[in-house]
């Protein structure tokens, strides 16, 4: 099945049906599995009795969207703060509304490369070194790390999906394939949602992406607004298969008679949406990032970095929330009470303590000083200057050199969430301008 059109009202039924076969993840602000403001497991609900409209259908006035947002916010009477809390309990029926928000706070990478995950467990007798006879230590895969059931993500934005093709280059390399990541990639079907109206922070085209880009996606859905007389109060999703897996998914849905094939006018509507989005986003793009490496190669010692980093606080908001940042730390998490730090290895004695624990991999950030700190106290990147430079160089120079792609998909999360408004779009444009002025050549010479 190459394409399938469903009404938005049917989304719940569609997701519920999928849930029988897959674990379905949707963008959500709720503090549920997958974490707040990221992606979470969809929980199928009993469907409303036939004929009874769901709550999101009650209002069919023209500016429904805006009204809806207003009720969400104002309905609590206490302004934004309370509004936020309330939003955390968004019912599933509101999903189509929620999907219109451009991006989750936490990126899609979390479903493949989580904030923290155990990479091995261990069990050691004799507290530390085994029984002294070559027995007593075992390492094993911790249970429940890898997803059992195959998964479907519904509503990822194209930039988030494209970020997976960036992460693939790191985690699915030939030399050291990382099956924690790879197995999740393999068992996840991603249904993307094209961006009718990009956010003011979006700049995917400057990184080779597109508001309707299909990189990393199995299915791309179009959010078709309601038209007079089309029988829907909220509009439709038109889902187009990108990969064979995507086709199979749509086939599964159409067998359940949950949608219909698209009409010619639907195709035209899709084209119109694409064009409008491209036009809108083109207005404020920074310089193209794909040739930035050439400039960056020559400006390692440019004074620009000294002014750039000054306002940076050195937190990890930009890197943790970045869908392409892959740096991690490995930390030892012995089970409580069993930890031993230093001390002599107990030999003999009647009681042999048993040490169990896990080794965990956690997101880490090149913006932290400790990231590169040697045990001797020497730090190759001692100040914010080197660290901000590393972040920019890595994304637009080192990564392209090593993997042939920029490590930025233009999602704009770092722009939006940086506490000091250190805007990577400005950085990109400044660097491109440095190249234009011939600085690069003169420096590297």
């Amino acid at each position: 099945m190459a394409a399938l059109k469903i009404t938005k009202m049917a989304l719940n039924s569609v997701l519920a049906l999928m849930s029988e076969r897959w674990d379905v993840f949707v963008p959500s602000p709720s503090p549920a599995p997958g974490g707040p403001s990221g992606f979470r497991l969809f929980e199928p609900r009993p469907m409303p009795a036939p004929g009874k409209p769901g709550p999101s259908e009650r209002d069919s006035s023209v500016n429904r969207q805006t009204c809806d947002e207003d009720t969400l916010w104002n309905g609590t009477g206490q302004g934004g703060q309370k509004g936020r809390d309330r939003e955390n309990h968004l019912p599933e029926e509101r999903l189509p509304q929620f999907l219109r928000r451009v991006l989750t706070v936490k990126p899609l990478k979390e479903l493949f490369f989580p904030r923290s995950e155990p990479i091995l467990g261990y069990c050691v007798d004799g507290a530390f070194g085994g029984n002294g006879d070559g027995t007593g230590v075992s390492v094993f895969m911790p249970e429940g790390v890898l997803p059992g059931k195959p998964r479907v993500v519904f509503g990822a934005r194209p930039c988030d999906a494209a970020s997976l093709t960036v992460l693939d280059r790191v985690f699915a390399d030939e030399a050291y394939p990382d099956d924690f990541y790879i197995s999740r990639r393999k068992n996840t079907i991603i249904v993307g949602l094209g961006c009718n109206v990009p956010a003011p922070t979006c700049f995917c085209p400057a990184t080779g992406g597109d508001p309707f880009g299909t990189a990393g996606l199995d299915v791309l859905a179009y959010d078709l607004p309601a038209l007079d007389g089309d029988g829907s109060s909220q509009g439709h999703y038109l889902m187009k298969a990108v990969t064979r897996e995507g086709e199979a998914l749509l086939g599964f849905l159409s067998e359940a008679h949950l949608g219909e094939g698209p009409s010619e006018s639907d195709e035209r509507a899709c084209m119109a949406l694409e064009e409008r989005a491209r036009k809108a986003i083109a207005a404020g793009l920074p310089a193209d990032t794909q040739s930035l490496g050439r400039v960056l190669g020559g400006i390692f010692n440019h004074p620009y970095w000294a002014t750039l980093h000054e306002k940076c606080l050195g937190c990890a908001a930009c890197t943790y929330l970045c869908p392409t940042c892959h740096c991690f730390d490995i930390s030892e998490e012995p089970d409580p009470g069993a930890s031993r730090s230093g001390g002599e290895s107990p030999k003999g004695g009647p009681e042999r303590p048993r040490l169990t624990g896990v080794r965990v991999r956690n997101w880490d950030s090149c913006m932290f000083p400790i990231f590169t700190l040697h045990t001797s106290g020497h730090n190759p990147r001692p100040t914010g200057l080197e660290r901000v430079r590393q972040r920019v160089m890595h994304k637009f120079y080192y990564f392209p050199e090593n993997f042939g792609a920029v490590a930025c998909v233009g999602c704009g999360r770092c722009v939006k969430y940086c506490p000091v408004n250190l805007d990577i779009r400005e950085v990109i444009s400044h660097i491109a301008a440095l190249g234009g002025t011939g600085v690069a050549e003169s420096i590297s010479a």
Binding site: P31, S37, E87, R101, S116, P200, P419
Partner: protein
């Protein structure tokens, strides 16, 4: 009401700082400039009189700039300081992190600053393309746009711009400026919705105001060398401006929580903490978190694990709050920096309340003496300290 406005403040600020730099009285002015998104500012480090033209001050100036003071190598540092910023500068001197002589405090009278997460919550799926403050008085008058200053940016490279959302509205808007001392201020917002249709809205100033600003005890600076008023007037501070809180601190929010059962409080704390991704933006944004090695980063002995384990995250937040007890000035910079919407304020405010109720102490009003936790009375009824 006079026809003066935040722009008047900004204008005076620029002139004044250009003068300071020109005369070589300071080496750097740490202030705010226009950011790249509507209703966003960004820290600016002005080192020559020309840089001073990028300075602004208004309700988008959300960072606590004193955080940069310990990092700067410049000899004489001027800081554009709101009430809470100035209180951290004092606290730095009290804690001997910097010398008073090194600082030149340019106090600005503050009306409170925006909490962008409240804005986000309001916006939902609407995109914000423009935002400004307006004064609504009587019929349809509107104030000068905050975005009227034109695009900001880190500067340095001409013609590099082209960043969407940074343009704002060129030129000043008609009508009198915004004065916050009287009249009714509104946030004016414009953009398009998820279907591309334009929308506009006007929200009350309070609606997007940071929670900490709602309970602020001192909107003016403490110990400023000069104060620039909201109408652009300068008052020589003589280093002694307006000490002491302007009003009794109120802790209604804390009392509400204290009234809850232990189970309820625990649940609420857990749910807050569960959002945390340990990005440490809160720590990095806080002027008080200047420890050379934060306890969370210590490996020998190790205090907490590195994963997103709930207990570890709780320990981080509890320890951080304890380290800031008697020092936190309730500027809210940590809350605003947090991308995940963790409400860090309550823990801090509980400790502030204890400081106030038990010792009549509020941080940041003294440059000399001892920090609250460095104080001990011989007749203290508790002997555990000894």
């Amino acid at each position: 009401m006079s026809a003066q406005s935040p722009s008047a403040l900004t204008k005076t600020l620029r002139e004044f700082c250009a003068g300071l730099l020109d005369e070589g009285r300071v080496d750097v002015v740490v202030g705010f400039g226009r950011g790249t998104l509507p209703l966003r500012s960004t820290p600016v480090f002005a080192r020559n009189p020309d840089d001073a033209s990028r300075l602004i001050f208004d309700a988008t100036c959300e960072n606590n700039l004193s955080v940069f003071v310990p990092k700067l190598k410049d000899k004489r540092i001027a800081v554009v300081a709101k009430g809470c910023d100035s209180r951290w500068l004092n606290q730095y001197i009290l804690e001997r992190q910097t010398e008073g002589e090194r600082l030149y405090v340019i106090g600005v009278r503050c009306q409170g600053v925006i909490d962008r997460k409240k804005l986000d919550a309001y916006l939902g799926s609407r995109r914000l393309l423009e935002g400004r403050l307006e004064e609504i008085r009587g019929q349809g008058e509107c104030g000068e746009g905050l975005e009227g200053e034109g695009a900001g940016g880190t500067g340095g490279v001409e013609g590099a711009g082209g960043v969407k959302g940074a343009e704002g509205v060129e030129g000043a808007r008609p009508g009198p400026g915004v004065s916050v001392s009287d009249g009714h201020i509104k946030w004016h917002l414009e953009g398009n919705d998820a279907e591309g249709r334009p929308w506009a809205a006007s929200l009350d100033f309070e609606d997007l105001l940071s929670d900490s600003c709602k309970v602020c005890v001192k909107k003016g600076p403490v110990y400023a060398d000069v104060v620039i008023g909201e109408n652009g007037e300068t008052v020589k501070g003589n280093g002694e401006t307006a000490k002491g809180p302007e009003r009794e601190p109120s802790f209604d929010d804390v009392k509400e929580v204290e009234g809850a059962s232990i189970e309820e409080r625990w649940k609420a704390f857990r749910s807050e903490v569960s959002k945390c991704i340990r990005c440490y933006a809160c720590r990095q944004a806080c002027p008080g978190c200047y420890c050379k090695e934060c306890f969370v980063d210590r490996s020998a002995p190790r205090w907490i694990g590195g994963s997103d384990d709930e207990t570890d995250t709780m320990v981080f937040h509890l320890m951080r709050a304890m380290h800031l007890a008697g020092r936190c000035v309730d500027c809210g910079a940590c809350v605003r920096a947090c991308p995940m919407g963790v409400d860090l304020g309550l823990l801090n405010r509980k400790l502030q309340k204890d400081g106030w109720v038990l010792f009549h102490h509020i941080a940041g009003f003294e440059r000399e003496g001892k920090p609250l936790f460095g104080t001990f009375l011989p007749d203290d009824p508790n002997d555990f300290i000894l």
